[in-house]
Each structure stands twice: as C-alpha cells, then as structure tokens.
Amino acid sequence: MISLSDFKHEHSPHSVAVSVKDLGLTYTTSIDKKPTLKARLKTLGRGKKHTRIVRALNDVSIDVHYGTVLGIIGSNGAGKSSLMRVISGIVPPTQGRVEVYGSVSTLLALGVGFNPSMTGRDNVYLGGLAAGMSREEIDSNFDAIADFSELGEAIDAPMRTYSSGMYARLAFSVAAVVEPDILIIDEALSTGDAKFKEKSLNRIKELRTADRALILVSHALATIEDICNEVVWLNKGKLMMRGNPSEVIAAYREFVDARKSASSDEDV
C-alpha cells in the first residue's frame, strides 16, 4: 500500500521533485514458473537458457516538478507500474538514473500489509505503520481515517468479514491521511461506489498544492483530464508523448482507436 520514505526534505515550489534520466528496465524472468534446483540441474551443461528478458522500460526521461499533477496513461503492459516501482525504489533500474527530491508515498495497491484476520481498527495501525507512520501519528489521525472510510461500527469487525468495497475504502482512507512531498497513486482511485469515488477524487484534489507533486496512473481518461495538468503517454516501455492533458489524451485515443480498427480488420 503506501510507503513513506524516511527523509524529510525542504524544497521550493516548482523545483524538480523527481528526475528520471534515460531509464531502462529489463526483467529477467525465468521461463519455468519457479526457479527450482531441479530446473537448474536439468539445464546444467546444456547451455540452454532458462530465462527470458522482458524490456519493461526503454529510455524514458521525465522531470516532475513540485506543483505538478502528472497523469500516466497507456495500455496494459505499457510499463506504467514498472515506472512507478522504480521511482518509489522498489525495483532497481537496469539503466539510467532516478533522482528523488523529497519524501515519497506510494499507493500502488490497496490494502498491502493488511491482515484479514485482524479487525479494521488493528489494520489501520498495521497499514499505517507499514506506510512509515508512527503510532502517535496514527493515533491522532485515527478518527479522521475511520470517518473517511464510513465503516461505522464495522471498524471493530475482522476484515475477512468485509465486502471488497469496504476493504478498499478502509485501505484508501489510511493512505489518504499521509501527507508526503511526492505522492504516487497507481490505479487506486476506482474504489468503492460512485459516492466514495467522488470523495476520494476530492481528497486527491485537496492534495494538489504548490509544494507537492502527484503522479497518477489511471485508465480513467476523463479523471486524468480533470485532475492533471500534465500527461505522459507510455507505450511498450517507451515514452510516446508528454504535455497538455487534452492533447495527449486525444492522441492516445486516436492511437487506441486506430489499433482497434486494425485488429478488427484482421478478424474479417
């Protein structure tokens, strides 16, 4: 879920928050599902390669300034999540360099660190601590988190009794109280029902300030166009276009439509 790096940082508005230079990322994945000793021994001496190289990112350079809300769009497998993982320090890059000028909070998946057999209340602490908050910080924010999640008395029930919507709402609420310099959100906005979606969107809008940088990954193009003031379009690990939201989104839509018609032609 969220993770707040331990570094406090002073910065001026509009200075660089994240600088990504010539970033390349290749995954070496094994063809076998799991890297076992047996598989190793079987291929030993035969010179057979048991790995496959996947290029997830290819020469991507992006600067994100404070005060910017950067949207990242692209089809599945474009490298969006990989880019977010490199910026948050989860995956080391294969090439290039990433410089981060501030504390980063990442919201890449909801409810990571949650333990379903514990109550919602326990999980607020567990999730908050996983995010790098201190117990005191969570104590003072607890009521706000509980209110935001709209769980009411269910907060004291074990989380395995929750519906998926309730689960996601609590996870987002924990994430929403962290106030980092740089916030990275991957596909986490589409949680809960329409009302909660609206509420979380408003929370994101509140977080848009001059001394903060937001990076949003989403397939919801209308939301991206609404919130962001800059958009980057990735395709197959390459940076296709960057700039004004409406222009980039229009180009992306055209690209997707063209591909769609091409593939539908093939069917005939």
């Binding site: 570094f7 890297p35 000793l37 989860i90 990433v98 981060v100 998946a109 990571v112």
Partner: protein
C-alpha cells in the same frame, strides 16, 4: 540545483548504505512488532483456544514425552525428562525460526512489490514469532523443573548468554534461508527433512555425553550440537557450560548471522524482480 534526497541506480550486488539502512529499519520497529503479532494471531485464528495454544503446545509436547519416558519406557530418570523437554523447546526456537524464515520473502510478495522498506524486516519478524512461541515454553519448563525436582544453582545464569547466542543463530538462519528460498524454491520443501535431521543429530533425545568421541568430532559441523549441550548442562544439571562448547556455538552463530546478513543485504534489491 538541490541535492537529490534519494538516487536509484542500476542494481549491483553490494551492501546498501548501512547507516541509512539501519536507521530506516529502526524507524520501523513498531511495525515489525505489530506485523509479528498479527502473523502470530493469524496462525491461531479460528481455533477455539486461540492464543492459548502458545501454552498448550509445549504442555502437550512434554506430555507426549512424559508418556514415552515414564509410562512406556518405565524409567524414573528425572534428568532425562528434564533434558529432553529443555532441549526440545530450545530446538523449536531454531526450527520455528527456520520454517517461518524460509517463506518470509516469498510470501511477502505483495508487500515487497508495493512498498519500499528494509526487506530484512521480514525474516526478523519470523524470528520474533519463533521467540514469542518460545517464551511460554520457558514457563512450562520452569514448572517441570520444579515438579521433577531438578537442582538449582547460580550457574543457571549462564542460560542468558546461551539464549542470546541461540537467538543470533536463529536470526542468522532465518535471514539466510529466506534469501536462499528466493533463488531456489526447493529449499522450502527440503526444510522439513533438514530440521528433522538436525533434531536427531543433536543431543535432544540423547545426551551429548552418550556420544562417542569420533561422532563428537563430526558434530563440529552441526551448528546447534554444542549449543544444546550447553543449554542442558546449565538448565537441567545446573552446571557451568564447557567453554569450548560455548565458543563453538558463538562461532557458528556469528558465522551464520554475518554471512546470512551479508548475502541478504547485498541481494535484497534484486528480490522484487525475482518474485
């Protein structure tokens, strides 16, 4: 131009900046405690006795061996029963740390892929869980000790440094095996046989004094042989441990801890792409 706070560059096998790493680990100490606590609760979730199992487990285990030694074996040797329970409980500290540690990284996939934190936290928490399970067994043993009338003496204070050595060894093993399991998943299937062999190769079902000198020389290769022997001498016989035995245990503990930690820390940034 401001100085970057963090820089991410291509992965090279090597230690991360240690001061920052340790600081970041230290700042997560409450998370480690909370995480271990919730994992422990998860293990007993849904059972009628819940956390009471932490006490019930060692009680039932010693009851089984009571049956074996006193009832079936017909022996009335209190030392033997005391030795067996004391060493079995300490052995389980090591074994639980290994079984918890082996999957610490591979089952923490979701956490690792989505959050940035010092990965060594996961095997540490496996050892903490093993320690949580061990502490009630100490109480159970203290009661057994009193009931069967084993001797007491000041030499029993040696138990504290021995426990410390055992903890360092358990932690080192958990860290090492969690890292090995990322690269060779077979190790988790092999582990039950490894721990079972360790159980029979160590002075638990028998006493170290019953082992021939030739075998004892070979037991230098067993990290816990002299650790368990020292433990039994101290808590069962209330004697001082042999210094050679203590040195052997310390050397193994430090070797496992240092090599395991080095191996782990120099590779942990690679884990996310291997899961």
């Amino acid at each position: 131009m401001e100085k970057p706070v963090v820089v991410y560059e291509p992965f090279r096998a090597g230690l991360p900046p240690m001061r920052e790493y340790l600081r970041s680990l230290w700042s997560r100490r409450t998370f480690i405690a909370e995480f271990s606590r919730s994992e422990l609760r998860e293990q007993n979730y849904g059972s009628v006795f819940g956390q009471l199992w932490l006490i019930l487990n060692p009680l039932l285990l010693s009851a089984v061996y009571f049956l074996l030694i006193y009832v079936i074996g017909g022996s009335s040797d209190a030392n033997r029963f005391g030795h067996l329970t004391a060493n079995l409980f300490l052995f389980y500290l090591i074994a639980n740390s290994l079984t918890g540690g082996v999957k610490a990284i591979t089952s923490g996939q979701r956490l690792i892929l989505n959050t940035s934190f010092p990965r060594v936290m996961l095997p540490i928490s496996a050892t903490i869980i093993a320690l949580f399970k061990f502490m009630p067994t100490l109480i159970v043993f203290a009661i057994i000790h009193a009931v069967i009338g084993l001797p007491y003496s000041w030499q029993m204070l040696w138990a504290i440094p021995i426990l410390l050595i055992a903890l360092i060894m358990a932690l080192g093993m958990a860290i090492l095996i969690s890292c090995i399991n990322v690269y060779f998943r077979d190790i988790s299937s092999m582990l039950p046989y490894l721990t079972r062999s360790l159980l029979y190769l160590s002075p638990i079902l028998y006493e170290a004094t019953n082992v021939s000198d030739r075998i004892k020389t070979l037991e230098i290769a067993n990290p816990i042989f002299f650790l368990l022997d020292s433990w039994s001498r101290v808590v069962v016989h209330a004697q001082a441990p042999s210094m050679n035995g203590l040195m052997h245990a310390t050397a193994w503990a430090l070797f496992l801890f240092i090599s395991g930690t080095y191996f782990f820390l120099s590779r942990e940034r690679d884990f996310a792409v291997r899961l």
